[in-house]
């Protein structure tokens, strides 16, 4: 049960990130999870939003370079060791993680970690086989 992540190409220019958030604000889109991967020259902004389609169309209209990617959002306990357990499962099955970032969910005592997996199907199987719960709605 994967969810859609929006990636936005950002040159390292002042104000570029502000432009993105402004476009999303004007389209009344709520950002649920956000992360930036940066290199010396450019950044890749990764977003999970409540309305992906509307967000993509608003961003493209504003001439941003975007891409939709399948990721999985796993709900874990907000206590020490919870992430370690998930990582151990992936490690044992040799599921490579391209990147991950965390999001705050409303539920008390819970956290959501977003994974971009090299082999999505295999990852999903491990998650379901081990009774981990996934978030599919933001």
């Amino acid at each position: 049960m994967q969810i859609k992540q929006i990636s936005v190409f950002l040159e390292n220019n002042a104000g570029r990130l502000a432009d993105v958030t402004k476009v999303l604000a004007e389209a009344a889109i709520n950002i649920r999870a956000i992360s930036i991967a940066d290199t010396a020259d450019f950044g890749i902004l990764r977003l999970i939003v409540d309305k992906s389609d509307a967000a993509i169309s608003a961003l493209n209209k504003a001439a941003f370079t975007t891409r939709l990617t399948d990721v999985v959002a796993v709900e874990i306990g907000d206590t020490p060791g919870c992430l370690a357990k998930v990582m151990e499962l992936f490690q044992k099955s040799k599921v490579n993680i391209e990147y991950l970032y965390a999001s705050l969910e409303g539920k008390v005592g819970k956290a959501v970690v977003i994974f971009k997996l090299e082999n999505l199907e295999q990852g999903l199987k491990i998650i379901t086989d081990n009774g981990l719960s996934m978030v599919d709605k933001f």
Binding site: E11, I44, Y99
Partner: protein, 433 residues
Amino acid sequence: MIFNPEHECMSTEARKKLQLANLKNLVEKLYTDVPFYRKKMDALGITSRDIHTLEDIEKLPFTTKDDLRENYPRGMLACPKDRIVEVHMSSGTTGKPVVDEYTQKDIDIWREAMARTLAGGGCTKDDIVQNCYGYGLFTGGPGAHYGAMNIGAEVLPMSSGNTARQLMVMQDFGTTMLTCTPSYALYMAEEAAEAGVDLKTLPLNKGCFGAEPWSENMRKEIEARYGMKAYDIYGLTEIIGPGVAFECEAQEGLHVNEDLFYPEIINPETGKHVPRGEKGELVFTTLTKEGTPLLRYRTRDITYFMDEPCSCGRTTVRMHRLFGRTDDMLIIRGVNVFPSQIEHALFGIEGTEPQYLIVVNRGDTHLDEVELQVEVKQEFFSDETKKLEALRTKIEGVMKSKLQIGLKVKLVEPKTIERSIGKAKRVIDNRKI
């Protein structure tokens, strides 16, 4: 030291007489032996009989780089092939290379021109010349080599690169004169500083630098770091290689070897001579060459003539150090680069738009630093940095192999490089030459 006082200190009148006689011979020879020139002269209705004074050179046709490319490989040859003893050519990165074929007499002319050039920088038979211009088809290495040998100096034919070994040889053999591109000279100075070698304590006290534009400040920097005198030299494959013009100890403009290479300055738009002392495009006619002589070759280099007598005693005309070029060619670390080459290379790389911007800076290291901004195709954009990094590395690799220089590639968003309706602005050159 003046290598050839008879020719370098000639009276203007005597020189003009010599130039005119040689020009007439050249025109006659080109008409007879080179169909390319015969066609051009027939089209203008000109023969050698129309050349009565040096000013009549304006009646003759120009030669351009495109002409030379179209006549690759041997269409410009003006003598039987078996008289050719050596060939040099440009890298040909922008298309067909430009070829210079030398008879033994041409090599002798080159030896003479380069001996005058190195002597202008103080070279004598007692010098040990470390020649770090590249050897090969490039004219730099062999040109300086021949010149130094003609003077009777000792030559260390190092070619460029392997800086650690350059420094070792410099110290162990007591190099007294350095010949290389000015940016390589500075690069070596930095490496020397890092290795704890104090260049100022070495016997090295002079150098002749060329093959790329450089500034007065760069000269001061080289002179300070080495504790030497640094001289500017000028030349181009089309004419003979290095040795066309050189600075003397006065360091005020470059003396043109004008008994060998007849210089003109024209308005690049109209093709007409500009008033003496005004800036324009430099044009050369090879008065005495046999292999591939050229009539009125348009160099695209911008300069002006300085007629005032020079304190060194030479009577040859001087040209100011170059101001730039009439075309969009960039000289990056001594390598000629046209923006069109970059465009051509980009077309072959998946994931990029043929939209680019070249930003050239001369950094703290005094080496040219080139940033190539390239637009990433929308479809190629990835959520993973490694894929974009791989694209960048790939572009850098392609550019390195096609242009022979290292560029730093910066990926930018699609549609962000400014589009223009006429001629696109592809280059921002921030170098202060």
